[in-house]
Symmetry: C4
Amino acid sequence: MEKETGRMEGFSDGVFAIAITLLVLDLHVPDENSIKKGSDLIIFLKNQWPAFLAFVLSFFSIFIMWVNHHKIFKQIYRRNSAITFANGLILFLVSAVSYPTALLARYFDGEASSIVVAIYTGIFVLINISYNLLWYLASKNKELLRPGITNIAIKKIHNNYLYGLPIYLTALILSFWIPTISLIIILGLWIYWAVSSGKIEMHFNNSHKH
Amino acid sequence: MEKETGRMEGFSDGVFAIAITLLVLDLHVPDENSIKKGSDLIIFLKNQWPAFLAFVLSFFSIFIMWVNHHKIFKQIYRRNSAITFANGLILFLVSAVSYPTALLARYFDGEASSIVVAIYTGIFVLINISYNLLWYLASKNKELLRPGITNIAIKKIHNNYLYGLPIYLTALILSFWIPTISLIIILGLWIYWAVSSGKIEMHFNNSHKH
Amino acid sequence: MEKETGRMEGFSDGVFAIAITLLVLDLHVPDENSIKKGSDLIIFLKNQWPAFLAFVLSFFSIFIMWVNHHKIFKQIYRRNSAITFANGLILFLVSAVSYPTALLARYFDGEASSIVVAIYTGIFVLINISYNLLWYLASKNKELLRPGITNIAIKKIHNNYLYGLPIYLTALILSFWIPTISLIIILGLWIYWAVSSGKIEMHFNNSHKH
Amino acid sequence: MEKETGRMEGFSDGVFAIAITLLVLDLHVPDENSIKKGSDLIIFLKNQWPAFLAFVLSFFSIFIMWVNHHKIFKQIYRRNSAITFANGLILFLVSAVSYPTALLARYFDGEASSIVVAIYTGIFVLINISYNLLWYLASKNKELLRPGITNIAIKKIHNNYLYGLPIYLTALILSFWIPTISLIIILGLWIYWAVSSGKIEMHFNNSHKH
């Protein structure tokens, strides 16, 4: 059976690529009259650390989302309207990530810190839910999936996304008290996802060989 | 017969993907000196509701346009200059959507409300006309279409777009008196299109089986 | 022989698609405090006419360039370093078009009119030269071209680009006296290209049949 | 063996294409009230020369990086998590190039010149390291590479990137004393890479024939 999701993947790749590349627009260049000499520029850049942190964090978060999108769509061979719109929801949230990133960049280092971390973790809760939705809609109808995919493999992907939800929610709730811990949790979850996505891949490669 | 519209679809996907992702640039981050504490930020974000509404509305409108573009080009196998330029007209209008969106975001909640809703609905009238034009130009020459497409299927797609025109025109005219109703009509039409595009797809999938 | 220019075309399509979609960022939304009622907005939009003109002109110019890029690369099957860098030059100029467009949008209606039209026509002179260069580099080595392409077809494409050069140069020189005429010449040339590219296409389609 | 890196290359092409096209946004259009007549605009544009220099330099640097990315991935047939993340690192740095470019554009012609050239050359040091890392990770496991690739070819690509590192580091160190020389070194290296990438290509094309 031929895969018929090609153009949907191409369009999604486009949105991911643009969303990830637009993040750099949130790094601001200082006004010419505020910088008299080299050391002024260094001080300006040092004070911009939340913007650089937010840039790195959001870049790799969108990158890992893209890796996961790629992994899920390797298992989806046909599409229907439900999958199209669940994918649209993911793309909507991914394209929106730059706004909470810009808020985080400007207000993490100040009084509004809790609010911006809550909004930032909040969008990742929503993205996690939309990935769960996409896989739920795809996997409830095995005709849409790669022929020969095992129930164990389906379950494994399912669990991989479901386990993320309580952790993101914890990060969201904690952001109101200790916002820094929330960001560390999210960072930790990405490292976990990067590693576990490597494992899922190995699992599939091994099952191909048998 | 091999499809020869591949690069045109790829280019169109690129324009759709960029147009949809650039919309987020219309969400503004407040100036640092206007925000002293968390509650100031919440008030700022609450007052920004027309910008969020415009962002959601335009994102999903472009997304549905992309879905429809995808559906139409699944039926077009060859291209000529007329189709190339009708497609160019669609891409021009899609890339322009972010400007009426920015106007709507800034002025929906105020005196200029009617004007911005009229401009916003106006661009969707034009997009509807350009889709009608594309399908008219493609379907008048059956050599350009997928081999084996039935006249009933051609007519069905034709009607799907033609029915949208009087509704968009109604929304445009109403915008001068009750702009909120105009936006609700457009929203309703998108839900209708999302559902009906699902039906057309089913229709084709069924006809494939016979 | 398989075409090996796939990834180069994909990358070029990306640059064309982004360059064409970024043009909309030059349309400015008025400040909230300068607009009190609907009629203020209409006056603002009317005064913005050079920006809308520049947007339309540049959008369709890049679109026609993309159509021509597509046509040329349908005839190129292999690539070398020279073609790669001639293509890079085209992409550089295409991505730069938005800057002369922004200058035209802001200064066409004023004292600096001649200068901005000269810069605007100047970039199209350069783009024309780079297309001539690309086709010269590709066609001097028939091993790089589509097998079976005739010398007449090679010559026809060659002439199509070469004839543009003196006309663009005329538009550039005229811009110092009557800038409006320069823009009309460019507009006329695009219409000619749109029509003639349709004819080249027909020529190739007919030659396929024989 | 079929190549399985298609979607990774497509996504990377997207990021390269956007990063290269966004550079034009750093060219600023003067405020309307600062320009009274044509000669004011010419003076403004002349003073902008560091911005034009930075634009050209960064455009062709990203373009050559894309050419090199293309060359490396022609040799990589399978991917694993390590390659995915090394590629992610390259894309991160490529998407970030526009920020040092904007700093260079604004401060090259002034007191902060050394700092901005150091930052600008610094990002190319990092990009060079990440290309070395990608090829190290890919080539240590010959199962990932194009079947039939020779050890000499692997070594050749390896050396091509490794030789760049000490030169970039020299440019970085020199930037603190004579920033202009640093930029000239980088420019020279790009010309070298453009030429040497042509040679590697010839090498592979010849080895295909045997």
